[in-house]
């Protein structure tokens, strides 16, 4: 009798085990299916634009002629954003990990994380309403003094709504990403390496150069890649700040466009082939960011045992 009740209850428990582990497995697989579905549905909806006669695509010269200026615009904006954000982010990460008083450090980290909490549309509104008018005199100065450089060719935009302003807003948005990852890695530097450097008479900066930065290099690289992924896909900052136009070399004139902003500005009113074109543009963006993120994750996984950024 006792054996019987034991086995029956065991049977019920076993069924519960099966159901539960099956449910968790299904949820895990659902994620893979969703990611696959993202790619699949984008491709299905994008095909009409890829096979349409060139004259029907916006611009009238086919999909490739339509997409490459905005791909270039996306890359320009993202790269400038990273050039601005990376040194500052590494400086902030070093400040929090090695310079700030221990008791303040976590609080300061939280303050930097607040930057990440602010919604992107608010950054866009701030960039358009506050930053652009404030910064346009600087563009005028650049145009008159450095105008011989193609990237600062005048006449400067009077409103300040240029690709450089958009990049500055983007750099503010990627700053917390690079900072928080780098900070984690700098904190993982072996204490013995640091103390050995200091014991040999190194100053704090020499210690950082000799012990912290070499140790953190792969982590910094992957943090920059993740920041790049974010900057490539960011929509609102560009859509609200940039007064878009054709591809131009000058960073201080209005012009240029990014993929994400192009989609956001045109998708709500689009119909027919235009929808397909925009979804195809989204597919291109998806492929670019997927590549960037996979390289970043691969670097992190390769150095997993050293870094805390996984």
């Amino acid at each position: 009798m006792t054996t019987n009740s034991l086995t029956t209850s065991q049977g019920a428990g076993r069924a519960g085990d099966k159901v539960f582990s099956g449910a968790t497995l299904a949820a895990g697989c659902l994620i893979l299916v969703v990611l696959f579905g993202v790619a699949l549905f984008l491709v299905v909806q994008a095909i009409p634009a890829l096979v349409a006669p060139p004259a029907d695509i916006q611009g009238g010269h086919g999909f490739f002629a339509y997409i490459w200026p905005i791909v270039l615009g996306t890359l320009i904006a993202a790269v400038i954003a990273l050039v601005i954000a990376t040194p500052i982010a590494i400086g902030v990460a070093l400040f929090i990990s090695h310079y700030a008083p221990r008791r303040l450090a976590s609080g300061l980290g939280y303050v930097v994380d607040l930057l990440a909490a602010i919604p992107s549309v608010v950054y866009g509104a701030w960039g358009a309403a506050f930053l652009a008018p404030q910064i346009s005199p600087a563009y005028g100065w650049l145009a008159s003094n450095l105008g011989w450089l193609p990237i600062f060719q005048g006449p400067a935009s009077a409103t300040g709504k240029t690709i450089l302003t958009a990049s500055i807003v983007l750099s503010v948005m990627v700053l917390p990403i690079i900072t928080s990852l780098s900070r984690e890695i700098f904190l993982q530097t072996p204490k013995l390496h640091e103390e050995a450097a200091l014991a040999l008479g190194a100053t704090r900066w020499e210690m950082i150069k000799m012990a912290v930065l070499p140790f953190g290099r792969p982590g910094i690289v992957s943090a920059i890649m993740l920041g790049l992924g974010r900057a490539l896909g960011e929509t609102m900052a560009v859509a609200l700040v940039l007064s878009s136009g054709v591809l131009t070399a000058s960073l201080i004139q209005s012009g240029n466009q990014t993929i994400a902003a192009e989609i956001a500005l045109n998708f709500p009113e689009a119909s027919g082939l235009k929808v397909s074109t925009l979804i195809a543009a989204g597919l291109v963006l998806f492929v670019i960011t997927l590549g960037v993120n996979m390289i970043a994750r691969w670097i992190i996984t390769k150095h997993k045992e050293f870094s805390g950024a996984n």
Partner: protein, 369 residues
């Protein structure tokens, strides 16, 4: 005399070639005064004063250090100045954004009825009238607030079970199998999907399944789930991992089945971390604009049905009010409403962030250590 003199000499030998402890304060004071003087010549403003003073401070301190202490100490000082400076530079946009939103948003938010009326029937004519006659700005964010809450709630209802179950699979059943490693990798990759691509995916999915041009709150919720699931998985996974193995083993030793051990022992132990992770995930997606823009359309009236009809949300409300003002000739009332909505949105996000910290503190396991 003969005893004290060598001591004094020794001390001076040790401290020789070092700047006195008060050196930075002197340089700072000089830099501030000089900065003010220079700015007074070309027109004073606070930002320029700070910038010029910071540059003067760096040059002064590093130069003095180079003269007294030598090159190595000077480059250390320079690095310190640059690193502290970069932190201060990073604070500038934060302060500036919050200040701009507060200054521009408060007039909007204190307008009577701003939080309790929608934009239904508010046309450019009303805005022109309010500018010309100075009457109050009509219209509000009620419909957008309602839409944001509904869309985010539905996204949470979709994401939390999927994300939590996946995290349980990874921690409890995965055993570092190929599938588990693949899921971990692709969850990380999903974290990096641009939000607008997630929106396009949901739109493309519903275009195929339901019909072209389908735009409802539910589509937006699916788009937000794509962004939210990886965040939930990552944070829940971290929390489940730190549940001590002794607890699981004690449960198994008492003859408890694995699934009951997970439900009754592991999850209750980790619930504070999981809840705060979910709250942070909500805070992340509640401000997303681009996916809602391409999936839910714009609405000016209240829509209580997530599954039918266009729906407004706070971020898209801000976006449309700025980009397409209700009255093109008088954009001021629209921008006032947009900043008011931005303030409401920031308050929501900050409350969620604060809530996440409180949850983590309040529901932390009492017998943890």
């Amino acid at each position: 005399m003969t005893v004290t003199a060598p001591v004094a000499r020794k001390r001076s030998a040790l401290t020789k070639g070092q700047l006195p402890a008060f050196a930075p304060y002197i340089v700072l004071a000089v830099a501030l005064v000089l900065g003010a003087a220079i700015l007074a010549l070309i027109g004073f403003n606070a930002f320029g004063w700070g910038l010029v003073s910071a540059i003067l401070f760096t040059i002064g301190l590093v130069g003095w250090s180079a003269a007294v202490e030598g090159g190595r100490k000077a480059s250390d000082k320079l690095a310190t100045c640059l690193i502290v400076g970069s932190f201060l530079v990073a604070l500038l946009p934060l302060v500036s954004v919050i200040w701009t939103v507060l200054v521009n948003g408060i007039p909007g938010i204190i307008t009577p009825g701003f939080l309790t009326t929608s934009m239904n029937g508010v046309t450019g004519a009303f805005d022109n009238k309010s500018v010309e006659e100075g009457t109050k700005v009509l219209g509000g964010v009620y419909h957008a607030l309602l839409g944001t809450v509904q869309i985010t709630l539905l996204a949470t209802v979709i994401s939390v079970p999927v994300g939590l179950l996946t995290a349980i699979y990874l921690v409890e059943y995965g055993n570092d199998r190929v599938l588990a490693r693949a899921i971990t990798f692709f969850v990380d990759v999903m974290t990096g999907i641009p939000s607008i691509v997630a929106g396009l995916f949901a739109a493309a999915f519903f275009f195929v399944v339901v019909g072209p041009g389908t735009k409802t709150g539910a589509v937006a919720a699916v788009a937000l789930s794509v962004l939210m699931i990886p965040v939930v998985v990552r944070s829940s996974e971290e929390m489940l991992k730190i549940v001590p193995n002794e607890l699981r083993e004690a449960a198994y030793a008492l003859g408890v089945r694995k699934w009951r051990a997970i439900l009754k022992v592991v999850i209750p132990t980790a619930i504070s971390g999981i809840a705060s992770g979910v709250t942070l995930a909500i805070a992340r997606v509640i401000g997303e604009t681009a996916p809602i823009l391409v999936t839910a359309g714009f609405a000016t009236s209240i829509n209580n049905n997530v599954f039918g009809g266009w729906m407004a949300s706070l971020p898209t409300f801000i976006y449309t009010q700025i980009l397409n003002p209700t009255s093109p000739s008088n954009p001021d009332p629209s921008s006032q409403r947009a900043w008011g909505a931005a303030l409401v949105l920031i308050i929501l996000v900050m409350l969620l962030n604060l809530g996440a910290r409180l949850i983590a503190r309040i529901f932390a396991p009492k017998a943890g250590r």
